[in-house]
């Protein structure tokens, strides 16, 4: 595919993308590879595929909510002159689509809707957002940023990709068999009693169980890699902040995922053998399930957001040519978030516990705001007096600061017991969650993909096209989800297919926003495909970054570096180091050494 760079010296190593001739040989090479870069790229395609499936389910959810379901009785005169009563039902949008496809004839609109939002939640959480950044960008860049040739356990890395795909196949099988309507949380006893004669729920739960192994193995691999494979000269505080974020993420993955493993296993036993542990009819405790579930699923939202925060630290520093402000504060706040994450699960089930426990969990939840705010303030301080370059990844990082701050701050009323009583299970929660997960993680993921795209594939992308996609995503995202804060505070409950007339305007605005959002992602897709086929060859260091991946060629060679790198400067020393492979005229050092 791409050839050897002129400055490659005496080593005769091709890019990691080059391979043997012949389609089958190439496929075999990728299917059996233990190269972390290829595995990262395979993860990228796999998670984006699941993002597409989950996104389509989201579009279905929004499409249903465009119109409320209304049944009217109309009296008409028929040809014979008799009065005839007919019932007209409007707003069954999903049912119309399904019957157009010849499916779901025995399902009501609400049943289809319940499956659509469960599908959206389960796919997006377990198959997209948990593995998204760590498994794709993390796999590709963690070893390179450490100056290593590969992760600690390359074969385990490939195994975790296969486990991921295997888990996704279980999920897809469940969808093809008709889908699940339990909600992505699989709350008992509904999840153990619904669809009693069918395997769909078991398949979906098994999918989440299997995906957990993939997550554990990736996390384990990263922790060991960070400990054991840092390049000579790289101490803990010389690591890029992306590595700190991935390290904190990996710790959570290793420590939280086993708990969801046993929980889902018990759920499967409950369904197949009725062991009764979560069944109130047999003396079991469904709230125990909720405790187990959130003991994993709350920490896991930090698995989703921490790597995003790592990406933001990289993008903001590189594209504003400023030393990151408060390096240690950002690094330790990642670990702080990881630590606190294990103590706050109870805020998902305030109403299912005693008053004292609820107050304690509420107080602990507020703690999360501290390390998070430390990060946000440090990022903003980093931008201050920086040479800010407005490009796609920088815009995504700025968008992150805006949307993630809204998401974070709107979380505080949910952590407050009194306001939560009004807001919980409403669209306010939906909006808050999407502002942190989509406005946080997905936006940072998009920024990260643009930041590292030239490095990963050796091709530049069309900046104007990407900026257009970015603008559409920004507008579409805010139109879709900001309206939902209003819907929620006014009393629109989540997970309902229908609503009272007063909510229709806001629901319609939200649905139109989702179309703009979809258009934005399609523009990005086109830009990426065009870049792969017709993109200009990327230089080794297009943005003037100082972390080790910018010392590699674009795309990197099979073993990443021609010689083992020796780290002599910090990852953000923009005021004193000319970036590798860069013209000093293009990336000048500040005359006063960076001191203002």
């Amino acid at each position: 595919m791409s050839t050897l760079d002129a400055n490659a010296g005496h080593h005769d190593e091709g890019s990691y993308l080059s391979g043997p001739p012949g389609m089958m040989a190439r496929i075999w090479q990728w299917a059996t590879t233990v190269d972390h870069k290829k595995i990262g790229v395979m993860y990228l395609f796999a998670v984006l595929t699941m993002f597409f499936i989950g996104g389509m389910a989201a579009m279905a959810v929004r499409y249903d909510l465009l119109d409320p379901i209304r049944t009217q009785t109309v009296e008409t005169l028929n040809a014979a002159g008799d009065l005839e009563t007919t019932t007209i039902t409007t707003g069954e949008s999903l049912k119309e689509i399904m019957s157009g496809l010849g499916m779901g004839k025995d399902l009501t609109e609400s049943q289809i809707y319940n499956r659509a939002f469960t599908l959206h939640g389960a796919v997006m959480v377990f198959m997209f957002i948990v593995p998204s950044i760590p498994a794709s960008l993390g796999n590709f860049f963690l070893p390179i940023m450490l100056g290593a040739k590969d992760v600690a356990f390359p074969r385990l890395n490939l195994l975790s990709w296969y486990i991921y795909v295997f888990g996704c196949l279980f999920g897809i099988m469940s969808i093809l068999l008709g889908g699940v309507d339990t909600g992505w949380t699989f709350y008992t006893p509904y999840s153990t009693s619904t669809d009693a004669d069918h395997w769909r729920v078991v398949l979906m739960v098994m999918a989440a169980f299997i995906l957990g192994f993939s997550s554990i193995l990736t996390g384990l691999n990263f922790v060991v890699t960070v400990h054991k494979l840092r390049a000579p000269g790289m101490g803990w505080f010389d690591m890029p902040l992306m590595i700190w974020a991935l390290y904190a993420t990996s710790i959570i993955q290793v420590l939280a995922t086993p708990v969801i493993g046993i929980t889902l296993l018990l759920l499967v036993f409950e369904r197949i053998m009725h062991i009764g542990i979560f069944d109130p009819a047999m003396g079991g405790d469904p709230v125990l399930y909720q405790h187990f579930f959130w003991f994993y699923s709350h920490p896991v939202v930090y698995v989703m957001i921490l790597p995003a925060m790592g990406i933001i630290s990289e993008i903001l520093a590189v594209h504003s040519r400023k030393h990151i402000f408060g390096y240690r504060a950002i690094a330790f706040s990642s670990l702080g978030i990881a630590g606190v994450s294990f103590l706050v699960w109870g805020h998902h089930i305030f109403t299912a516990m005693g008053e004292l426990a609820a107050i304690l969990f509420s107080g602990l939840t507020f703690l999360v705001a501290i390390p998070t705010a430390i990060k946000v303030f440090n990022w903003i301080a980093t931008l201050y007096k920086g040479s800010i370059v407005i490009n796609t990844s920088m815009c995504y990082a700025l968008m992150f600061l805006f949307t993630f701050s809204i998401g974070g701050l709107t979380g505080l009323p949910l952590a407050t017991l009194a306001t939560d009583l009004h807001l919980h299970d409403s669209y306010y929660v939906v909006a808050h969650f999407h502002y942190v997960m989509m406005g946080g993680t997905v936006i940072a993921f998009m920024g990260g993909i643009h930041h590292w795209w030239p490095k990963m594939f050796g091709k530049m992308f069309n900046e104007k096209g990407a900026m257009l996609g970015m603008a559409l995503v920004f507008i579409g995202f805010n139109v879709t989800f900001f309206t939902q804060f209003f819907l929620g505070t006014q009393g629109m409950p989540r997970r309902y297919a229908n609503y009272v007339d007063e909510f229709q305007t806001l629901h319609q605005i939200s649905t139109y926003g989702s179309w703009i959002l979809l258009a934005g992602f399609l523009v990005h897709l086109v830009v990426f495909v065009v870049s792969l086929y017709a993109g200009k060859k990327a230089p080794a260091n297009p943005w003037g970054g100082l972390t080790l991946e910018w010392e590699c060629e674009s795309p990197p060679i099979e073993h990443n570096f021609h010689h083992e790198p020796i780290v002599k400067h910090g990852p953000y020393d923009f005021e004193s180091v000319v970036p590798p492979h860069c013209d000093p005229k293009e990336f000048p050092l500040p005359e006063n050494g960076g001191h203002h």
Binding site: F153, N221, K228, L229
Partner: protein, 233 residues
Amino acid sequence: MTMIETDTSSVPARILKSPKHWRNRKAASHWRSGDEEFDAAKFGMWLFLSTEVLLFAGIFCGYAVFRLLYPEAWANGSHYLDWRFGAANTAVLLLSSWTAANAVRLAQLDKQFWFKVNLVITIVCALLFLFIKLKFEYMLKLPAGKAPGTFFSYPMAHDPHEPLWWSLYYVGTGIHAFHVIIGAIIFAVVLWRAVRYQSYGPTQYTLVENSALYWHIVDLIWIFLFPLLYLIH
């Protein structure tokens, strides 16, 4: 110990020249040295063991919750189990943990014959554990109706929540037994590679050490399951 030190088993040239013989094995290319690779593998194994502890923590937590809710059912539950079979299995596992530790040491000392003997004893103990578990516990209790959840049909039950006790008994010991099976398979792989290639020796014993670590955690979990299920009333 004299017998161990006079291990003079002759080695066929086929094995000595094999790239899988311990003298010929090298660190993977992304490691600076075999020592670093060994340290990393061991560190990874410890992380994995922490996930095992957390996995079983769910079962122990469920045990604690229901014990508090239904103390009568839990007290009755332990009376249905014969502590002698539990104790026998504890002894079997402790013995196997000792032989697993021996195997690591003997690999380090290149005592190939006794290394293999200890691996065989470990595997036999694993199978013996499973045999006792199935033959004298599961096979006797299931037909008597002492089964998990809705399959429970034991007519002499004193407490309506005894089915839950049996659920936790079967889930806990069942998942543990599954780990015993996995352990036996891993030791069988180690044994096969030891017989076929002499893959493990003073500089190459990562898999032996990690298998033994895994085996110790399986043992340790049983050490907790045994008193909780068999001894505490």
